[in-house]
């Protein structure tokens, strides 16, 4: 197989012409977005260069502790990001459940993937450990974010329905079944959609990467299929954990709706 073509620094600089074109367009159309475009481009560049150095260091000093530190940082960032991206205010109880279900759901799926499906060797090999953990955690983060929004929104817009069910003697899980199912559905829908479009509408990033690095397409799709299944598992597991414990935070010990 061919080795990957190397891009020289000057070739890379020529790619920034796309940003220059974008800046010209927004200036011409008088769309006030120049500042954001420049900041975004700078951030993207600086962040990636830094990550490049960090990964280089980690790959050269293959140590268990580094892989573990990276996954802890990823999980922390993901949980924090869910809090930030949810527009509604979250109770501290719900925040706790978000963190626990996010971490335990993704870790379980990831360890299964690591030890059973792909069997990294050693199990903390950063070339596999870091990107794959990143994909599982990133997708679960999106899933839980959607689930949280849908759950909180559901309890506020369908409050009357839940109360009417309680008044008739429904236990809290039955009274909130519709809301919980809807939240699960909206949380996993993007994952299901991406499986449907996979390979036809787009070539996923991971597969592209594997192909670019010189591996054959069949190896690339094997990885892609495995990771897609891993992502589905990780998303559904963390979302169902979140919903199963999360809905309970909307009720008090007298089976009354808080709010």
């Amino acid at each position: 197989m061919n080795e990957m073509l190397e891009i020289t620094i000057w070739q890379l600089v020529t790619a920034y012409i796309f940003i220059v074109i974008l800046l010209a367009i927004v200036r011409w159309r008088k769309i006030p977005r120049e500042k954001e475009i420049i900041i975004a481009t700078l951030r993207m560049t600086i962040q990636l260069v830094l990550v490049g150095y960090v990964l280089m260091f980690i790959f050269e000093n293959e140590k268990m502790i580094y892989s573990i530190i990276v996954i802890i940082i990823m999980e922390t960032f993901a949980v924090y990001n869910i809090y930030k991206r949810t527009k509604q205010t979250l109770s501290s109880e719900l925040k706790k459940i978000i963190a626990i279900s996010m971490v335990s759901g993704t870790l379980f799926a990831f360890l299964y993937f690591d030890f059973i499906v792909v069997q990294f060797s050693p199990w903390y090999d950063p070339r596999y450990f870091i990107p794959i953990a990143g994909m599982l955690i990133g997708n679960s983060m999106t899933g839980i974010t959607l689930g949280v929004s849908s759950l909180v929104e559901g309890f506020s817009s369908r409050k009357k329905e839940v109360e009417a069910a309680l008044m008739l003697g429904a236990p809290p899980n039955k009274a909130s079944q519709g809301i919980v199912n809807h939240a699960f559905d909206s949380a996993i829908l993007p994952t299901i959609n991406s499986m449907v479009g996979m390979g036809i509408v787009f070539l996923p990033g991971m597969m592209t990467g594997v192909i670019l690095s010189g591996a054959g397409p069949m190896d690339a799709i094997k990885y892609q299929i495995a990771i897609m299944l891993g992502i589905t598992g990780s998303v559904s597991l963390s979302v169902i954990l979140f919903l199963y414990f999360g809905y309970k935070t909307f009720f008090n010990k007298h089976a009354q709706l808080k709010l």
Partner: protein
């Protein structure tokens, strides 16, 4: 059946003493804002008083499992709620919520007729008008075969004629079965015509803040 002693809920209501006897129909009567709905919700633990005791069958309500309590003491809220699905689904959903057995279609058809609701069981319930939805909600509660019925303005969206039909049916069913009902209404006529006893909010509520 119920006895209330020195009940306080936020700064909304303070009730010194109230007894509800089994097998009677009560009306809670008072102007809006007098705390009728708030008080009604305490009988089936939809709200819990901050202070004082409300007992059901000589047991403090806070010691009873709220879900089991609500299966004996069912409530119809102020705004009729329609769930997804057909008229049949909406009538049966209360039984399903409470883990009770479904009933035959014929029972539902008879019930709809009694409620002056000439609708097909397979019709989508959200297509019904406000008054029809309210009768559907009353029907759902009547199917529950409960010990106590708490009804918050069960006929607020109905015209006089339908109101009479619904109230006649409802009170007859309760009396025939020897059950208890507590209704909230702001209509003096309804209160006088249908209840055994009118509870005037003004008489039971003390507005002097928390009781000492």
């Amino acid at each position: 059946m119920f006895s209330i002693k020195q009940l306080v809920f936020k700064d909304i209501i303070t009730v010194n003493k109230l007894e509800i006897k089994s097998g009677k129909i009560y009306c809670l009567f008072g102007e809006s804002g007098s705390g009728k709905s708030t008080l009604l919700k305490m009988f089936n633990s939809m709200l819990t008083p901050d202070q004082g005791i409300i007992a059901y069958k000589d047991q403090s309500i806070t010691d009873v499992d709220p879900v089991q309590l609500r299966r004996e003491v069912v409530m119809l809220g102020q705004d009729p709620v329609v769930f997804d699905g057909t008229v049949r689904d909406n009538l049966l959903i209360g039984l399903q919520f409470a883990d009770k057995a479904d009933v035959e279609d014929q029972v539902l058809i008879d019930l709809l007729k009694d409620l002056h609701l000439k609708k097909d069981l397979d019709k989508e319930a959200d297509k019904l008008s406000g008054g029809e939805q309210q009768r559907l909600a009353v029907g759902r509660v009547l199917l529950m075969n409960a010990e106590v019925y708490l009804m918050d303005e069960p006929t607020s969206a109905l015209d006089e004629e339908t109101e009479t039909a619904v109230m006649d049916l409802f009170t007859k069913k309760i009396r025939d079965a020897g059950k208890t009902a507590i209704m909230v209404t702001h209509s003096k006529e309804v209160a006088e015509k249908y209840s055994d006893e009118i509870i005037y909010m003004n008489d039971i509520v003390t507005n002097e803040g928390a009781l000492s």
